[in-house]
Symmetry: C4
Subunit: 492 residues, 4 copies
Amino acid sequence: MANDKEIRVDEIKKHNSDQDCWLVVNDNVWNLTEFAPQHPGGAAIIYKYAGRDASEAYNSIHAPSLLSTNLRREDNKGKFNTADAAASDPEWLKPPPTETRAIEVGAKPPLQTLINSYDFEGVASRTVTAKTWAFYSSAATDLITRDANKSMFDRIWFRPRLMRDVKHASTKTKILGCEVDLPFFVSPAAMAKLVHPDGEKALAAGCATKGVAQCISSNASFPVGEITSTQPNHPFFFQLYVNKDRAASEKLLAEVEAAGVKAIMVTVDAPVPGKREADERVKADAAALQRVPNSGATARNDNKGGGLGRTMGGYIDPTLSWKDVKWLRRSTKLPIVLKGVQSASDVKLAMDYGLDGVVLSNHGGRNLDTSPPSILTLLELNRLCPEVFSRMEIFVDSGIRRGTDILKCLCLGAKAVGMGRPFLYAVNYGAEGVEHFIEIMRDELETSMRLVGINSLEEAHPGLVNTLDLDRFVPSTMGDDDMKSVREKSKL
Amino acid sequence: MANDKEIRVDEIKKHNSDQDCWLVVNDNVWNLTEFAPQHPGGAAIIYKYAGRDASEAYNSIHAPSLLSTNLRREDNKGKFNTADAAASDPEWLKPPPTETRAIEVGAKPPLQTLINSYDFEGVASRTVTAKTWAFYSSAATDLITRDANKSMFDRIWFRPRLMRDVKHASTKTKILGCEVDLPFFVSPAAMAKLVHPDGEKALAAGCATKGVAQCISSNASFPVGEITSTQPNHPFFFQLYVNKDRAASEKLLAEVEAAGVKAIMVTVDAPVPGKREADERVKADAAALQRVPNSGATARNDNKGGGLGRTMGGYIDPTLSWKDVKWLRRSTKLPIVLKGVQSASDVKLAMDYGLDGVVLSNHGGRNLDTSPPSILTLLELNRLCPEVFSRMEIFVDSGIRRGTDILKCLCLGAKAVGMGRPFLYAVNYGAEGVEHFIEIMRDELETSMRLVGINSLEEAHPGLVNTLDLDRFVPSTMGDDDMKSVREKSKL
Amino acid sequence: MANDKEIRVDEIKKHNSDQDCWLVVNDNVWNLTEFAPQHPGGAAIIYKYAGRDASEAYNSIHAPSLLSTNLRREDNKGKFNTADAAASDPEWLKPPPTETRAIEVGAKPPLQTLINSYDFEGVASRTVTAKTWAFYSSAATDLITRDANKSMFDRIWFRPRLMRDVKHASTKTKILGCEVDLPFFVSPAAMAKLVHPDGEKALAAGCATKGVAQCISSNASFPVGEITSTQPNHPFFFQLYVNKDRAASEKLLAEVEAAGVKAIMVTVDAPVPGKREADERVKADAAALQRVPNSGATARNDNKGGGLGRTMGGYIDPTLSWKDVKWLRRSTKLPIVLKGVQSASDVKLAMDYGLDGVVLSNHGGRNLDTSPPSILTLLELNRLCPEVFSRMEIFVDSGIRRGTDILKCLCLGAKAVGMGRPFLYAVNYGAEGVEHFIEIMRDELETSMRLVGINSLEEAHPGLVNTLDLDRFVPSTMGDDDMKSVREKSKL
Amino acid sequence: MANDKEIRVDEIKKHNSDQDCWLVVNDNVWNLTEFAPQHPGGAAIIYKYAGRDASEAYNSIHAPSLLSTNLRREDNKGKFNTADAAASDPEWLKPPPTETRAIEVGAKPPLQTLINSYDFEGVASRTVTAKTWAFYSSAATDLITRDANKSMFDRIWFRPRLMRDVKHASTKTKILGCEVDLPFFVSPAAMAKLVHPDGEKALAAGCATKGVAQCISSNASFPVGEITSTQPNHPFFFQLYVNKDRAASEKLLAEVEAAGVKAIMVTVDAPVPGKREADERVKADAAALQRVPNSGATARNDNKGGGLGRTMGGYIDPTLSWKDVKWLRRSTKLPIVLKGVQSASDVKLAMDYGLDGVVLSNHGGRNLDTSPPSILTLLELNRLCPEVFSRMEIFVDSGIRRGTDILKCLCLGAKAVGMGRPFLYAVNYGAEGVEHFIEIMRDELETSMRLVGINSLEEAHPGLVNTLDLDRFVPSTMGDDDMKSVREKSKL
């Protein structure tokens, strides 16, 4: 189906602007003029290679097959002839200089010396590129929610019961119909290839070995089918950003269902992107995207900075609302979970709409600063609508870093928890890193279970935790009155 | 009307003491002997130029027309003859050395790299003079209120509702009868010329472009009419310090009404100046005002230091009280708002006195340290007298730095908020800086609205915020019992 | 009455041990063998000069008259003949080397540049000797109470009332029958001569000029009569440590009554000395007391360190109890106030015993660490026994540093407050420093009064402060059950 | 009974692997092949000396008699001939290099300059080996419990009563039937020989002099009988880790009873070892155990790191449960106390099971991070089951560092408290250090008693402390519902 017409370098060189933009990718020549503005990673990076060979940059992020499955056939302009003399012109071959701090694998300490999730984070901060670090580690404005996500866990005390036979401690459970060995899953995060060439595939390999479910991002570096096919019998979920072009979303849902995915997690907390200032600033100072030499891309450097997260989210539909639940149900037979729910009020709505579960999440604190730490929302459910725990599967993510954090969520009714950034920092060491990280978390979780005196996750219950330090901050009403009714009441 | 009598340098030089003090300002010779002690900026700076040409220093702060509109005709002694040989005597021309750290425009980073209000503050701290920085950034004694003004906002969690169609988010509202594009206004702050030569005019230009209301200070660098005339159709308010000389205040109110101002904000929290130690200390160490070489001004360096804020407030009437509301109403037809109210008790009084609104404010923490953060006072109104929200317009200032701060105030019933220092730090880049700053705040506010799930400001309501962490500090009684009744009760 | 017998250096030199210890002080020769162990400043410093001329060291701390009024006539061995050749032997004259960091008056910044109490503290920390600094600034063990004394004031918000005519603000009040200009007094602190040669006299001079009452310490550097006689019409109080030798206390009470003192403050929170580790450590490292060359004093360097405060308190009677109130009443006609009361329970007892007042104090955090901050005890009185405010005068000390602190205490029912360390740091500049410090505090207090909207101290009342942040820590019962009744109740 | 067969170096050298492992210890040759894997200190340290003379290393930790009392007779291979020429081969004699930072006694400051428990801790941190420091000072994961153990004491205020005759203050009490001079005992901690060659014997010597009870660890450096025999009339307790091999525990209990021990403290909070990351990391980086040159020990460097605490606990039985109380009672006639109880629920169970006491302890924060600070558990007993105080002896350990901490526990019903790390840091100075440390604690305790106004420990009661700052975190229910009943309730 590929276009075999041979195209010479001299021809390619002419299409070097954002109005007329051709790129060579792995021996094929593509006209990306129309696609570029829709590129999840932003148009700038495409314009940077206008009229050049972008194979190396492309391969460092994307799977080979991604272009041919996503672009129109007519955009394939033909084959690139590597025998063409001009093709070896170093001037032409060499892309404009990009950020120099490369991933230095050699600089990483031996994997065995990493003994907790913070160790992985520390290594990542020193070994991935500055832009990648800014993109993953950043969060909304003043980082209040990001930090409270974790620190609120530390304000919950256990109430351990001793003198129980704790020889055995089983961490097995069932998530959305799938048997798993551990009550945590990989939360979806974009483009794992930024960290490791095998990206989501390496995550899948590590998770499959250890029996950990993986949720694949809409912005994954590989097509979903490519990832799932590497681990045929493994439980995968798919995270969906609903596209402004609903047909595109429908097509995608059909594809992932065919790819063997077991459930859909629809992200609902990002109708517009958050303001992640660290991400925005890297562009302003030094990011590669800024140094676009030959196109209108400079004009696209907007007043807000150079946020990768913001650029990437351009296709997300801000009109998504509860009335779309019907459409979602029509578009897939898989269980549907809403990811990013932040109030008891919305969890009840989700229950009333018959959804299969919710992920209490604030997107790792990346979207709205001072949105509530997830553990606070979990406590809100316990207080205001405990019935949801028997009607839906309640998951928690944002801020989970320790086995104790996991156990606390489970004691308070969560079915399982998600971890996003920690898995990205683990895949820095490939599949082996993912396995080592999972073993660390398993060990922490088992130790915590034994030291509070339980043998299985079913035995976790609220009486094992003392949440009084947080209970003070848990609302006692749903807060659903609108301003009109509030003002009326206040007049009485 | 000007006095055309020509006056020679030799004559001017003789009037070089504070008992007999003439200055040249832009070709006119003025006798400022009587005016100097009433100078809002202090007498010292005038005495410094006694018998000299003060044009340069004057123009850096004030508008050309200010002298002729504020001084008596008889104080104009005549014209200064620049052809006079002695007029070019460098010894005479050159004023005594003043502070050397000048406003270095070149040192400012490009405006586009500033992405939040703290960036503007940081730039200002490095590029305005030390005295200007001390004057604007300082606050009362131990800075407890100044810091809590902001940090208390960070202790309020949102309760976002997801799955709402948030394609549209309108920030329009109506303040004191004026349609505006954004629910925040420029809080009055003295002498913007210290930061930028166009001062309040640059603020007006930026605000007019963006539809933001501006409140002009009694101590503005330009006469009100000069500012308002630059933006004829724009909503301006005027901040009034009531003068010990009430007739002066009446004249001023008539002028500002004629100048097209739409409302009066009467400052009530500064009957005496606060103790702003950073402002006081600059004099003690290095401020220009200290180096007065030739007059009694040295004797005016008092035991408290060199506070510009304190010196400037000398004319404010500490006897202002509720019985003056009648006088205020008589003196202007414009809506009257009390600025600086800090208790539910006083807000109720304001309502009972039929005032049009209040600004809950502690003067940015500049007057009484440990006065309550404004958000605490807003919560107090919600608890103790919610009826005021439907009877008056409630505004909030002090500590607003983020779009989330604004939205929280609006959820709790505020009509709009004021920002003072942030606008001064923005005008450091002139009108363009003001526009960029407003765009940043608009973007933060719109993002916050969308991420909590609302489309317009009317939809903001208390159920969208979790204020439990602050509710503990909100009084449950008005606290109006005096000591006698307290002691009597305690005897029971 | 002096002994005129002439004594030669050769004779004096023989009495150079702690078993036989003569010293020359200002031309008199004293046998201090019996007195040394009772010396409030410790025996070591006396033994250091055994057989030598101690005039210089003596005069740096004590008044000339102190020896003759405190020692037995028979201990005066005679006159010292300065014409004696051996008297000018530098070897004999020169005392063993003492600490080298002297009071460098030249190093002090100009008094006018000090604008708050912390400035005085900072200067003192740099200009008094290390031992003096350790003695005054130190507090018990982990400094928790010392620091909370101040920080708890910062957790009280004012509830200002605006639009009151605040032209006038009177700080006058009446303390224990004495009219004073300000509602604060000098809390007793030992040996002000360590800071300034005029010590308590300089304090008295400054206080008299400004109308501030002064409480003189049992361990003052001058006899009480010498201090009071310098300011005949000024209100002085006397702080009493009850002596193990009750007759000594009776004699002292008679003397101070004769000296014109107006009230007695009996310290009750120091039956044993607190553990002030900074004070203890200075000896261990470098203090002068350590370097006693010629006596058994070395053996007195005990295992606890070298605390001046501890050494000084050796004569205090730990058996003092409520039954001694009768004895106190018998021993003086003056009003009696208990200083150091720390519970509502004891304040009620004091009321029942008919005492005239109490000072809520924890000795500046110097005795028992985690004893309650005084403001907490004041709140406890408001909650548990408000009737005491109309039956006794309630004073507060420990941690007062700002005018706002004073006003908060007065709003909560205190009659006046005491300040100890701040006055010592002020007398570092002599009487002039004391006056400047008082003016600073007066200005802060008046400003606070005006900004909360009151004209006189009588108008202060609880409704002007929001103490909710501390109310959580105020007990709701007296806590007077003993363990037996507690255990019995718990069995029910 | 020893085997007198003479064995030459050449023979010994052959048994130099972990499959065939002989060591010389003090002239005896031992075959440790079978024992090594059960070695409480880990096999690695034994394999390190395979085929060599390990006397020096052995003696630095263990008592001479330990081997012969713990090993089978047949493992004694014979006598080592020191006259053997090869025995003086320095190559053979010298063990592989171990960690170089040795205990430098010279580096310690004079004992008299240490005035509180933190001083001892500081000296230990600088003078013991890095591995010893890591082992003793480390705690579980994020150190939250370790730090809160102490800081929560600092949030309790005293409510002192003054004007009591406090000349006398008796610290005597009775613990588990034994008269002691002080209400604190040595909490069990492993291998004191790491700190001082006389280890637990030096502790015993110091404690006996001062009348302080000592609890000996299962992992002590000396056999219990050797320790107790040095201080015949002193109260010792024994801490038991129940062995997977119950017969071994039974034998041990018989031995310690014979050795004169007065009570058994069964540790129940360590069925599995905690994750002490500092301890784990020392191996990973530099610890001696890592550098095992000639054996399979390297393979034992597992993925978790090199924790000494974890290695040492391998024999502990995780199946220990309440049904084993009967077995414990059968195995000893001594009083039995459970150590490590952390909930009111378990304390009640202990009472119902007829046990003699409990130690509220979280193992110094070393096992489960965010397990509750002991003082919180003590407050929970006061709230939920105060009847236990009259039915059992309640002890507290974890975080006691000051005399005030002790007194607070006693006021809240504890019979006595334990201190572990502080005593280890004290024995750094041998028995003399222990005595000095006890004197410091006694002085702090007596001072605290006097300053709150009591003469004996029986007078301590809850009314002397204000625990409101912690009461907020004390549960009001036992929390014994399991998840099933929780879910059922929530459905109602």
